[in-house]
Each structure stands twice: as structure tokens, then as C-alpha cells.
């Protein structure tokens, strides 16, 4: 295939603004190792970078920096006991959920007030997964603004944290249950969980994960006082 046919396409390809058929043709051509076209695409990307810098510069809200700092670099030891750490954990949970579901972060202190020891342990485990090197994020329902959507954070050694938004309150008498769906064998129940009033929820699979044998994490509705061995009504499945 001749490089000439792509000469007007490099910039559009680099910006994701090329129609699918043309983009696929150019991608296949690039995969052949054509050095000239690969160089043109890199040049187009660089050109785009320069143009993006011409956007009118606007300062983000000052509060955003504080939230970034509280999540990624929380201050330590200004107060005795576990309180600062608990606040940091609660703030981390608040922002993580807010990020994934594209909503505003929770109020950290409110989360703290609700956190009990077991919950803190869960959050701690989730943070461990989120921050561990090698954790891979897999989005599901990407771009959705209604219905369940969110991300799986998968770490082979530590487990899986599923952060989900857009989950309505379970109907009366029913509860949500999460399931590991292997490629071979039956789904295995993980834990019951409930979304908060805004439809956000976290469910955690603890311990090593055989990713090669994993198809999905699924969520079902089950009778409230049951210990299900098979999913009754599957609400959604987040495929790996």
C-alpha cells in the first residue's frame, strides 16, 4: 500500500478524528513498520501538542489542588492516634469513587464518621490494591452516565477492587452480591454489598487472582437473607 494515500491523514489519525475505515487502514500500514509514515504520525502528534498549548489558559479551582494533595500525598502526624490516617483513608475513598464515576468527591469527614473498623480494613485493602505497582485498571460501561459503570483494579497478588457507580438501591428484600466468574467452572460468590445513596459502591476480591482464568466480575440481586451459591438475577458483568 502506498504511503501517498495517507499524506493528508497523519494529523487526523493522531487526533482520533479519522473515520474508522481510514484509521484502520493507516494503523495496519503503520504496523508494517513503514518508518516514513510512523515518523509522520509522531510529527503530527508533536504538532498537536503544540496546538493544545495555544488553548486559553485557565486556572482550575483552588480546592482541586487540596483534594489532589489529600489523596496522593496526605499530611501525617499533625494529630495523635489514628484519626489523621482515618481521614486520609476516607478522603482517598471519597476521591477514588468520585473519579471513577465522574462525580464530586465525598466529604471526607462524613466518610470518617461512618467508618467502622471492618470498613477501614476494607478501605485499607482497597488502597493497597490501587497503589500497588502492577495494578491494572479495566473500565466497564465507559462513558455511561446512567446504569452501572466504573472500573476494576486488578492486582495478581492482592486481589480486585471493583468501584462502581450508577447502581440503584436494591429492591426491598433483595441485596447485591458480587461474583468471580472464571473461564472454567461456576461463578464464585465474593460478598454482599450495598451502594450508598448516590449509587456508588465498592466490592473487593481479596487475595491472589488467576487472571488467566478470569472472565469477569459480576453483580447479581439475591434474596436478603440468603447465602447464594449461584447468581439469581445478574445485574451486570464487568469483563476482564
Amino acid at each position: 500500500m502506498s504511503c501517498d494515500q495517507f499524506q493528508d491523514s497523519y494529523e487526523l489519525y493522531a487526533l482520533g478524528a479519522l473515520e474508522s475505515a481510514e484509521a484502520n487502514a493507516l494503523r495496519e500500514h503503520l504496523a508494517t513498520g513503514c518508518s516514513a509514515c510512523n515518523a509522520e504520525v509522531r510529527r503530527a502528534v508533536r504538532q498537536g501538542e503544540i496546538i493544545f498549548r495555544t488553548v486559553p489558559s485557565i486556572e482550575p479551582p483552588a480546592a482541586l489542588r487540596s483534594r489532589v494533595e489529600s489523596v496522593f500525598a496526605p499530611r501525617r502526624a499533625s494529630r495523635p492516634s489514628l484519626v489523621p490516617w482515618l481521614i486520609a483513608v476516607a478522603a482517598m475513598l471519597a476521591l477514588v469513587i468520585g473519579l471513577v464515576v465522574q462525580r464530586r468527591a465525598y466529604d471526607a469527614e462524613t466518610q470518617l464518621a461512618r467508618a467502622d473498623a471492618a470498613q477501614v480494613q476494607r478501605l485499607s485493602h482497597m488502597l493497597e490494591i490501587l497503589q500497588a505497582p502492577g495494578t491494572v485498571e479495566v473500565s466497564f460501561g465507559p462513558g455511561k452516565t446512567t446504569g452501572p459503570h466504573g472500573s476494576l483494579f486488578i492486582h495478581k497478588g492482592l486481589g480486585i477492587a471493583m468501584v462502581v457507580g450508577g447502581l440503584p438501591k436494591a429492591p426491598a428484600g433483595l441485596k447485591y452480591e458480587s461474583w468471580v466468574v472464571p473461564k472454567n467452572g461456576s461463578p464464585q460468590p465474593v460478598e454482599p454489598f450495598a451502594p450508598d445513596p448516590r449509587g456508588h459502591a465498592v466490592t473487593i476480591v481479596r487475595g491472589p487472582v488467576n487472571v488467566a482464568d478470569l472472565t469477569a466480575l459480576a453483580v447479581s440481586l439475591e434474596p436478603e437473607n440468603s447465602n447464594p451459591v449461584r447468581p439469581t438475577t445478574v445485574v451486570f458483568a464487568a469483563h476482564v
Binding site: 493528508d8 494529523e11 487526523l12 493522531a14 487526533l15 482520533g16 478524528a17 479519522l18 473515520e19 474508522s20 484509521a23 484502520n24 494503523r27 504520525v41 509522531r42 510529527r43 502528534v45 508533536r46 504538532q47 498537536g48 501538542e49 503544540i50 496546538i51 493544545f52 498549548r53 495555544t54 488553548v55 486559553p56 489558559s57 485557565i58 486556572e59 482550575p60 479551582p61 482541586l64 489542588r65 483534594r67 489532589v68 489523596v71 496522593f72 500525598a73 496526605p74 476521591l95 468520585g98 473519579l99 471513577v100 465522574q102 462525580r103 464530586r104 468527591a105 490501587l130 497503589q131 505497582p133 502492577g134 491494572v136 485498571e137 465507559p142 462513558g143 455511561k144 452516565t145 483494579f153
Partner: protein, 204 residues
Amino acid sequence: MCSIPLEWELASLVKMPGKSEPDPESTLVRRLKARDGRAMVDLYDRYGRLLYSVILRAVNDSATAEDLLQETLMRVWNRIHTFDETKGRLEGWLVTVARNRALDHLRANQTSPLAATADLEDLERAGMFYRSESHADRIAQENAVNAALGSLNKDQRQVIELIHFEGLTQAEIAAKLGRPLGTVKGMVRSALKCLRTAMAGGVS
């Protein structure tokens, strides 16, 4: 036709002395890969304004832009291990991640579906990001492209902005502006040719 002012052509010929200090981008990437949370704050201080501005230009809503910037930062934190600082520039990758979040949002909220375009995630591969030979080359390129942008006529400038900041295809631009597709393609072609020429002239 576009013509690049002479002073920019001359400026592009001026070489700046090489810098010996460590590349701050590379240092930042190394810290991020070492899971240094403070590095994320430094990243925000260095690039937050640019990323927010790019997102806001696309979605035109400050609260949405704030949410999308937060999502961008978390994505960067979780995917920094996929970024190879020896092959690409961090700033380019960050802007692409931010822009993709904005375009995902726009596409999810379109009442009429946008045309099928390339998978945006494919654009985040580190190998896509140019790493020019020297700081001087980068300055020369920026000067040349900025000059070329300034020389575009109003129509050319508009289509370039729609492609870059709103991720529209030529067909979508034609529909948005109510102009024939052929006319839009002509405007895009001439504008890109002008920018391409400037890029080529910006590096000696």
C-alpha cells in the same frame, strides 16, 4: 495559502545551547513509577492548568472539567507504568489522556451518535509521543507552528480548533458548520499543509 512571518523563520534558525541538568519530566516519571504520591502533586502543579484548560475547551463546563481532570489524574496514576519516558514526552501523553477523557464524555453525551472514529485509547500508546532531539528544536517547532497558526484564515483556524479540541471528523465539522464536506476537506487540507510546512521548517 499561508505565509509564516520572517521573524519566526529567523527565530527557528537560532540554536539554544544544550542543557546538562536532568530532564525534569524524566525525573517526575521516575518518581511516579516509584509510587511517590508527592510527585502527583508536583505533576498537578506543573500540568494541571494546561490539562484543565484543554478539557474545559472541549466540554465548556467548569464542574465537568473538574471531574474529568480528577479522572485524568487517577488514570495517569494507574497507568504511568505503561509510559516509557525514553520514547515519549510526558506532557504529550498527559494532554492526550486528558483530551480523551473529554472526548469520551462528549461522545457519551451526544444526542446523535458521532461518527465511528479510531479507538481513543489507542492514541495513548507511549510510542505515539514525539521526543525531539533538543530543547532548541522544540522551541523552534513551537515558534514555527504558532506562527503558522497565526497565519491561518478564520475558516482554517476554526476547523483546526474543532479537530483538536472537540475531536470532530471532517464530516462532523461539515454538519456542525453547515458547509459542504468537500469545502471542509479543502480547508482542513490547506490548514494542515501550512502547519506541516511550518513543522518541517522548525527543525533544522
